[in-house]
Symmetry: C2
Subunit: 271 residues, 2 copies
């Protein structure tokens, strides 16, 4: 049983129907292994191989799978694409430049939504990827009811096989992901309130008044405002604010020890 | 100058600021090459290498880049991460499990939106990726103002380096992509109208009436409805409809030639 670096849960087939990844005539065992790894990353499990060029199994695939061994162990070998698709209800084929086809063409993201819909209906979908060099043939594509296009750089849109699997696997996974797009972790601390920030600003301004930094009366309000803008620009945690209080106190102590022997030069506010 | 398989436009730096990809202590030249290819796929161009384990340049990287040579040719070598980031305004670091950090954590998709915003302001963003085995150190992460998490399979979330670059490159590209999620190409033909479909249904039903297939009067309406449901389920092109007219005519001709010597058995409608 394969565990990830943290000894997390073993890699097991996900419950219910999940899309089957079908590699048609894959050439390189490294790519088959990298495909298994990419599938594991996205939570896909079922791999079917149609007539791999160099036969099957190939040890190099396991070496390239970085622990996604169970996907390779469970992979099935098929003499023809027809055989690999016989028990599937939907067939989506990746195709960089669909031409002369009269089937729907979806973006990878939309295809992932469709795959989720199909899986929710307990139907089995297959996701076809062609051989590294040539891609799927017109005959292969005729077995697909839907094509998938990756909207990538039109000047350089030939994806490595495992990279193409990664994009679909990633989209499959994110199609039902509930991670908030933006988070802010505050391990053991919390975001400071505006009151706490005002308290700090009071401390800072009092010390700056005492030092003479704010002695230019007409510019004082603007300088304080500039400082407030800077300290208020991003969220500050309560712990960071305590550290900042300490920094102000520490720097002020040095000044007081010197007994104002060297008063600070008046600074110009930047307006 | 590198051209893709179709002899499309050469791979040139995109105009304006685009994010810089920074690989920190990459171990394998293959991964550096695969990174360049993934960058080209997504329209990224600027690659910086911080102290690659096996030195630089390495011919294997060019072999793995599948034509993204210009990105490798233009890649710059840096002794330290500090050096690589000196002219950058924003630093995003990929991190599978952000811990004990007090910076914003974005999903890959949200990070791509942020990268587009930064680029639109003519600021330079860096996207950091750590070495294959260990990932970025806490010291490296402290140089990032934002972390990026890929919401993938929590039981298997260790991505290959070039796969991680692929996901970010893909998200960068799709963040401004206007491809309709769902298209239906009808090269040289067009979607048939409901009137054309009705015309075909009329042809079919007339032939089925003539053949005796619909002779069961109480079930006739239901059978016609079932056929209409089937023919109406997906969009039909005008060309496909002409072919179907031909099929009906051809099959009917056979029947007429036989002169109804073998009348068809009455079929049951499936209700």
């Amino acid at each position: 049983m394969t565990r990830d670096a943290d000894g997390a849960a073993p890699l097991v087939p996900p419950p219910g129907e999940t899309p089957v990844v079908v590699l048609v005539n894959p050439q390189l065992a490294d790519n088959i292994g990298a495909t298994a790894r990419a599938m594991a990353n996205g939570g896909l499990f079922h791999l079917r191989l149609v007539a791999p060029r160099d036969g099957w199994p190939q040890p190099r695939a396991w070496a390239a799978a970085s622990g996604a061994d169970r996907i390779l162990d469970a992979a099935t070998l098929h003499p023809t694409l027809e055989d690999a698709l016989a028990d599937c209800h939907r067939v989506l084929a990746t195709c960089p430049r669909p031409r002369h086809v009269v089937v729907p063409v979806l973006t990878a993201r939309e295809a992932a939504r469709e795959l989720r819909d199909v899986a929710a209906r307990e139907l089995r979908a297959a996701l076809l990827f062609g051989p590294e060099r040539a891609g799927l043939t017109a005959e292969d594509l005729a077995r697909a009811d839907t094509l998938v296009r990756f909207p990538l750089n039109p000047d350089f849109n030939s994806l490595n096989l495992a990279q193409a699997v990664m994009v679909m696997s990633y989209e499959w996974c994110t199609a039902e992901d509930a991670t908030p797009p933006r988070a802010f972790q505050t391990h053991g601390t919390r975001i400071a309130t505006k009151g706490e920030l005002d308290n700090f600003m009071g401390h800072l301004v009092a010390e700056l008044d005492a030092s003479g930094f704010l002695r230019n009366a007409p510019k004082r309000a603007g300088m304080v405002r500039n400082l407030r803008h800077w300290f208020g620009r991003g969220e500050v945690t309560e712990q960071e604010l305590r550290t900042l209080h300490g920094v102000v106190a520490e720097l002020s102590r040095g000044r007081m020890v010197r007994g104002r022997a060297e008063p600070a030069a008046p600074h110009e506010a930047e307006d």
